[in-house]
Symmetry: C2
Subunit: 356 residues, 2 copies
């Protein structure tokens, strides 16, 4: 079968031939439909995560997939069921985190991430997966199912942020998304139903496709060149919830200042080392006197995937059409890895969905 991989000594995705995998006991065989591309894929290609399986010299890419069951192999699925795979896998048999559907909470050493570190991804015509790592998706989401994984990332961040505010009556109204990449824009759409007022901060100048998407959702674009994060409360309003999806380290700390009293910031970016100065005394005081919170959030649990399926089903089709700027077949897969100013979200298509 065909697969898209990056070699340990390579710096670009290439099309390779691999044997079609055989499901072992408890695994189903899935025929891949579409696989999304995101910033993590670009980091993997650039060698930032560096995680081919131990006995291989290449890593099959892709962690945002949707496919159909080709061979249930005695799992509860039926041929033709539409499924989305979760990303983390237990490397040494089951562990407690996976057993309770919380692979996202497993510490280092307790997981591989398919397509990212230690295990091949889903950019292949077929993949196998333990049945409990496959989330069923309704046929209406066949085209957009590759967005379930990124949406699940946001479901987890919302879940953990709300939990952190559950010890008191929290009535949030305002939300700010830091970052107008594809995850930021998807999150703006997801927050629309939960907050009265949603803002999205980015560095782009008009005219710009991402600003168009933000405004078509009824959200407000904040140009960080004019209004840096600490100036947001004065220029707009203090924010009850902030979602950081930039990986720009100063944002993690500026978030404390931009929050309203009793607000919470969810951090999702993964920056490299970077030393800089902060007014730590003021930030510490702000944290305490105004009951603020920050939660770091990585990956997602099984119930976050399920919540993401429900949430995606409620999003406007025209928004999804705007968000996904390109879906490319294997004959032009390289185009899915181009990231220019007109690109928002792309996917590689391995097969078209055929309703049973």
């Amino acid at each position: 079968m065909k697969a898209i991989a990056v070699y340990d000594d390579g710096d670009e995705p290439v099309l390779i031939e691999k044997p079609r995998p055989e499901p072992t006991a408890g695994e189903a065989l899935v025929r891949t439909l579409r696989v999304g591309v995101d910033g993590t894929d670009h980091e993997v290609i650039a060698g930032g995560h560096g995680g081919s399986p131990a006995d291989d010299d290449h890593l099959v890419l892709g962690h945002e997939a949707v496919g159909v069951i080709e061979d249930p192999n005695d799992t509860p699925f039926e041929v033709g069921d539409l499924v989305v795979p979760t990303v983390r896998r237990s490397p040494n048999g089951a562990n407690e985190y996976f057993a309770r559907g919380e692979p996202d909470m497993a510490p280092e050493g307790y997981y591989h991430e398919r397509g990212i570190v230690g295990a091949h991804g889903f950019m292949a015509e077929y993949f196998t997966s333990p049945a409990e790592c496959l989330i069923e998706v309704p046929p209406e989401l066949a085209e957009w199912g590759f967005l379930v994984e990124p949406a699940s990332i946001t479901e987890k961040a919302l879940d953990h942020a709300a939990a952190s505010r559950s010890a008191f009556r929290w009535n949030p109204e305002s939300a700010l998304v830091l970052g107008n990449g594809s995850l930021g824009l998807l999150t703006v759409a997801m927050l629309d139903a939960e907050f009265e007022r949603v803002y999205c901060l980015g560095r782009r100048e008009r005219p710009d496709v991402t600003i168009d998407v933000i405004e078509s959702l009824g959200a407000t674009y904040v140009n960080s060149n004019e209004t840096p994060v600490p100036a947001v409360p004065g220029a707009y309003e203090p924010m009850d919830f902030i979602y950081e999806a930039t990986g720009y380290a100063p944002h993690a700390f500026e978030t404390i200042e931009a929050l309203a009293p009793n607000g919470v910031g969810a951090l999702l970016g993964v920056p490299g080392d970077w030393e800089f100065e902060i007014d730590g005394g003021r930030l510490h005081r702000e944290f305490v006197l105004h009951n603020k919170a920050l939660v770091g959030s990585v990956n997602s649990g099984y119930h976050h995937f399920e919540a993401a399926v429900d949430r995606l089903g409620g999003l406007d089709g025209s928004f999804l059409e705007d968000l996904v700027t390109g879906v490319y077949g294997l004959d032009e897969f390289e185009a899915a890895f181009v990231d220019d100013d007109t690109t928002i979200k792309t996917a590689v298509e391995f097969a078209e969905y055929e309703e049973r």
Copy 2:
């Protein structure tokens, strides 16, 4: 009646005469038994909070009180009931935060703090209070009732920290208290029942009374001169829960490094402005990849006072005897404000408790 106050142009507590207050509708009159002294009182005396009532040139000190009902004044209390007052009062009639017993979540402008900012404290022979701001205490706690308020501060921090970890199965075992002041030591005792292993970090060298208290509780003393906060995971273990009660701003950020994966830090200190350098990229990444959380926590709600009453009742009497190094009558009240290396916790006694 006699009261202990600090004048706006003064820098030490003085004994003054004031008229005995008259309870208005909904208020009870309380005869004060004991009032504790803490770091906030020292800051108030030094002018750090600066909050006499608008029409007064002095502030009666004290926010950690226990007393007996002298005149119920048609509230649900009876003469002789033992009570602890909460600290925050609504300055402009009721607001939603007070109405639901969460004055601690009220933003600036929605509260005064008795003995700290905007309203006289409890260091007087009598005080009045709305009945809903008085928490009933069993007679066994008459001597130690002035510890209910500081214990409620810790109850809130534990409540908010646990809430922040309630979106997944959290099984914390290790806890670190930063700071071996009276609140830190009280917290070490309170954490004993919740964590397998409790540590307390301070700057003191042996022999020292606070180290003796820590070790008598079965906890481990961490000398920050030998083991600064970022070195704690290597020298001891990564911590599931960290409670910061130092007001030393670098600790707020070092906490991120000392936490175990999925851990949470509660910040309670209130430092002044202080710029310093951090490796913000590394801390941001730590936050995200290991699902860490920080929650700021100030003041406490009514149910935190109630939880503190229960918790204090379960603490060992010999610990409380060790913690409270001095209780002084009005004839020697100045001694309660001395803070040297042999002082842990002090209180001023206005009257002795007489069981009905």
